[in-house]
Amino acid sequence: MSERMFFIDYSRCIGCESCVQACAECDTHRGTSMIHLEVIQRRESVQTAPQVCMHCEDPICARVCPADAIKKTPDGVVQSSLKPRCIGCSNCVIACPFGVPKYQAEIDQMMKCDMCYDRSSVGKKPMCATVCPSGALTFTTMEEIQRTRRGIPINSWKFGAEQVRTKVYVMVPRTVEQVSVERVQLAPTPAPLPADPYDVALMLEEKK
């Protein structure tokens, strides 16, 4: 069987937080969840998005770490900071384009998703991708995901001038080859998206 990989399909997420609850149950980080479930804007929509560590091929968090505390295993999994080395400077927290590492003040250390290394390193699925009831988080083979999904998986990102490739894939429409974030846009999204795509009141108005 070919290697199983991690895929995120944001369009499937239902915000149930199974991933958050199950992450805390994993033996490597019992009691503390390492996954972020982002509620985008509850007033506007029920949209939510799960964020695991993307496990960059050339992890920016490790590059900016002055203490060399963040290591990538030979199988491409970027680990949490090493306790004896981490100085709690939060360089990684600021540098990660995906907003994954979090500084935990009570232990003065950065902790992040390690793809449930105790599970994934012995051939089991990460906890979040095992329990996720919507398939927004999936751990399977490339062939299986290509066979069963409408979208395609990509792992190529561009943040300004920074090119990033990740071990984790995201599902996107078939026309997309790379996720490109030129700049963070704070103003409302301009057309062609409807101004308020999830406003039930607007749906109840007769179209003229």
Binding site: V20, S45, V131, D199, M203
Partner: protein, 740 residues
């Protein structure tokens, strides 16, 4: 007595709800698990497979069970944290008696049961057999559901037994029986991804049946269109191809509006209708009045949405309908369901791969618990209690005279009314928390206070148990063995992980002991739940829900068996109606000419806003279990009132403000959650919380004339901004009914 023995904060300080946040032994415990028990979740009707990790007779965690085909390891947050109800500080471990002015104090089993039996005898001797009633639940295993029905009819000989599935599945059940003659989802879940169009009517799948989401998304990845009807944009509605924000109670407008268009455009299967059904013409005459304009008025949505729905639903070769409480919790719940499933029948898209429909069961054994004879109108095998042949057969299995089996009794709401009116004096309840879950909660509390004697069997002291004279500590699902029947009609095996703690006992042992003390021990002489199942098999033989061919070995070997399974060699029936034969005497499916009618209470000048209720993903039903689990309370701590910004602006309410939501019957004070994802004429409060936070203080005690389901999904309210509450209840923890 059945009155609160002391102030609620004192009871809460002794029995909770309190929050359990860390597994036994702590997060950092070392050591190997002694065993991993393959079993099922105790919560909803999906009945997901799960493994419980056990150490020293304690459940210490869980592990996904990826080989169980229905959910393949997937779980919702309730399933993930379910093990935290074990080893809980609130767990009842000894029989308790009410102590006036104090609360509850322990007593021995012998003293407790002596009191229970003497009170049953006193009340039945003084006021007649039917004056002692039983309320049960649909989270009980098949074995326990069967036992409760037999206990009522044989040990107590009371007609008045009903169950909390009355608040859940009965509209769907009655509709399916009327149209097809069988009360069961017609298809296995594996048919969902094979359908080309899916209609989800009144089902918040993402929060109430989360595992089903993956089946819906599989279908969409296979090219299916998804239509969702709901007054709120639920998480699945966000990505639906067509979301119809129907006004609560307006569903028939959409269904009949669609059907009129489908008839006009030829998107029905005339040959199928002619050969295998009856009553279509009369139905079509009613439907003909539902022009897009009229349908739009009834449904409260633009006509174009209904036309689009017909255009999506009509032409495809395969289709699947899923419906749940959103259309069922109405005083016309049965008619709503009939109108929905006739969209399936008229296209002939049933009884084939990728073609059919399902009702999404709410409770863990929502399906099985209504088949084994604990409904007021049924005997085992889904048999009608008024059918002489059925009575004769079951009397034979039980070894009692047919005449000794009581007639049909009262269903849950009328039963509570009979308690209020003093016609019923005694109550034994198990697995039911009516002060939180029945409508018009102030009335329910007042009714309970009128009981002369109330005995409650439960594992935690629920809000309702606080009214009991005697509380008997029963068992959690993982402390006993038995079967349940999942949403697909699949009978599955719950394995025992641990034994009940302290002096708590398996529920079935408690019931058998009471029966024995009532002098009926010979009829309740079981050594194990499996013994009960063996009798259940026989009692269901020849009935609609025929379990005769199902054995525990077969369940284990096949990952469950779908009924009907009439003989041991039979493989079970995952998909019904493949032979186009329906369970009516004429062999046909029956169309019914149902028509829309208004809800019991429509908005008016005094109460101008529609109120509706439902669930959130991290809590289950009346919250007896989930409000005791820290991580689930953290996820959704307290009920909030969802309202649209337009309504909020009109009322001068901002996000997080405290609001009073008030009907003619009662009110809650909760924080506002201002969202654009709800109709501006409707507000929503989830119902898992008690007392001043109980949505059911507001709901109306109106029931469907056929199914007797309460109308939870619509009543009229007014909403106003208010000061933060300062009463003693509001100062409790959120898990007990306080506010944050």
């Amino acid at each position: 007595m059945a009155k609160l023995p002391t102030d609620i904060p004192i009871i809460v300080s002794q029995f909770g709800p309190s929050l359990h946040c860390v597994p036994p032994g702590g997060w950092e415990q070392a050591g190997e698990d002694e065993k991993m028990v393959k079993t099922h979740c105790c919560f909803c009707g999906q009945q997901c497979g799960i493994q419980l990790r056990v150490r020293s007779n304690r459940v210490v965690g869980f592990e996904p069970w990826e080989d169980f085909p229905f959910n393949r390891g997937k779980l919702c947050p309730k399933g993930v944290k379910r093990y935290m109800q074990d080893e809980h500080p609130d767990r009842l471990k000894t029989p308790l008696q009410r102590l006036e002015g104090v609360g509850y104090g322990p007593l021995s089993w012998d003293t407790a049961l002596t009191r229970v039996v003497s009170e049953i005898q006193r009340i039945q001797n003084s006021y007649g057999r039917d004056s002692f009633s039983i309320l049960t639940g649909a989270s009980l295993t098949n074995e326990k559901a069967y036992l409760m029905g037999k206990f009522a009819r044989v040990a107590l000989q009371t007609a008045n037994i009903d169950y909390n599935g009355r608040l859940c599945m009965v509209s769907a059940a009655a509709a399916s029986k009327k149209v097809f003659g069988i009360d069961r989802s017609a298809n296995p879940w594996s048919d969902i991804p094979k359908a080309k169009v899916i209609l989800v009517a009144g089902a918040n799948v993402a929060e109430c049946a989360p595992i089903t989401t993956d089946y819906l998304w599989q279908a969409r990845d296979n090219g299916a269109k998804l239509i969702v009807l709901d007054p709120r944009m639920t998480p699945i509605a966000r990505n639906a191809d067509l979301f119809i924000p129907v006004r609560s109670g307006g569903d028939i407008g959409v269904f009949h509006g669609m059907m009129r268009i489908m008839i006009q455009r030829g998107w029905i299967d005339r040959e199928y209708i002619d050969n295998y059904t009856s009553g279509f013409e009369e139905y079509a005459r009613v439907v003909d009045r539902y022009t897009p304009e009229y349908a739009s008025q009834i449904a409260g949505v633009p006509a174009e949405l209904i036309v689009k729905a017909a255009e999506m639903w009509g032409p495809p070769p395969t289709s699947f309908l899923l419906h749940a409480r959103g259309i069922e919790h109405h005083s016309k719940g049965v008619d709503n369901c009939i109108a929905a499933i006739q969209l399936v029948l008229a296209t002939g898209r049933i009884g084939r791969e990728g073609c059919g429909y399902a009702m999404i069961t709410g409770q863990g054994n929502g399906q099985g618990a209504r088949e084994q004879g604990q409904k007021c109108d049924q005997l085992p095998g889904s048999r009608d209690i008024s059918d002489p042949a059925a009575r004769e057969y079951v009397a034979g299995v039980w070894g009692v005279p047919e005449k000794s089996i009581p007639a049909k009794g009262l269903s849950a709401v009328p039963l509570m009314e009979a308690i209020y009116e003093g016609k019923i004096k005694g109550l034994l309840s198990i697995c039911f928390n009516p002060t939180v879950s029945l409508p018009d909660a102030n009335y329910v509390r007042a009714a309970l206070e009128k009981l002369e004697f109330y005995v409650n069997i439960d594992f935690f002291l629920s809000e309702t148990a606080r009214y009991a004279d005697i509380v008997l500590p029963g068992s959690l699902m993982e402390e006993d063995e038995g079967t349940t029947t999942n949403v697909e009609g699949r009978v599955i095996h719950h394995r025992k992980a641990v034994t009940p703690p302290g002096d708590a006992r398996e529920d079935w042992k408690i019931i058998c002991e009471i029966a024995s003390r009532l002098g009926k021990g010979d009829k309740f002489n079981y050594a194990s739940p499996r013994d009960i199942f063996e009798e259940l098999r026989l009692a269901s033989k020849g009935g609609v829900s025929d379990y005769y061919g199902i054995t525990w070995e077969k369940i284990d070997a096949d990952n469950g068996v779908c009924w009907p399974c009439p003989d041991p060699g039979h493989p079970g029936t995952p998909r019904l109606y493949e032979d186009k034969k329906f369970n009516h005497p004429d062999g046909r499916a029956h169309f019914h000419p149902v028509d829309w009618r208004p809800s019991a209470e429509m908005p008016d000048d005094d109460y101008p806003i529609i109120f509706t209720t439902g669930r959130v993903v991290s809590h289950f039903l009346s919250g007896t279990q989930t409000r005791r689990i820290g991580a689930l309370i953290d996820q959704y701590p307290q009920p909030r009132c969802e309202m649209h910004p337009r309504l909020a602006q009109k009322l001068g309410i901002a996000d997080d403000d405290f609001v009073k939501v008030e009907s003619r019957r009662g009110s809650v004070v909760v924080r506002a959650l201002i969202v654009k994802t709800i109709r501006p004429d409707t507000v929503f409060v989830p119902y898992h919380w008690p007392l001043g936070r109980s949505a059911n203080n507001i709901t109306i005690r109106a029931i469907d004339p056929v199914s007797n389901i309460p109308e939870y999904k619509i009543c009229a309210v007014r909403v106003s901004k208010t000061e933060p509450p300062a009463d003693t209840i509001s100062q409790l923890g959120v898990e007990a009914g306080g506010v944050r």
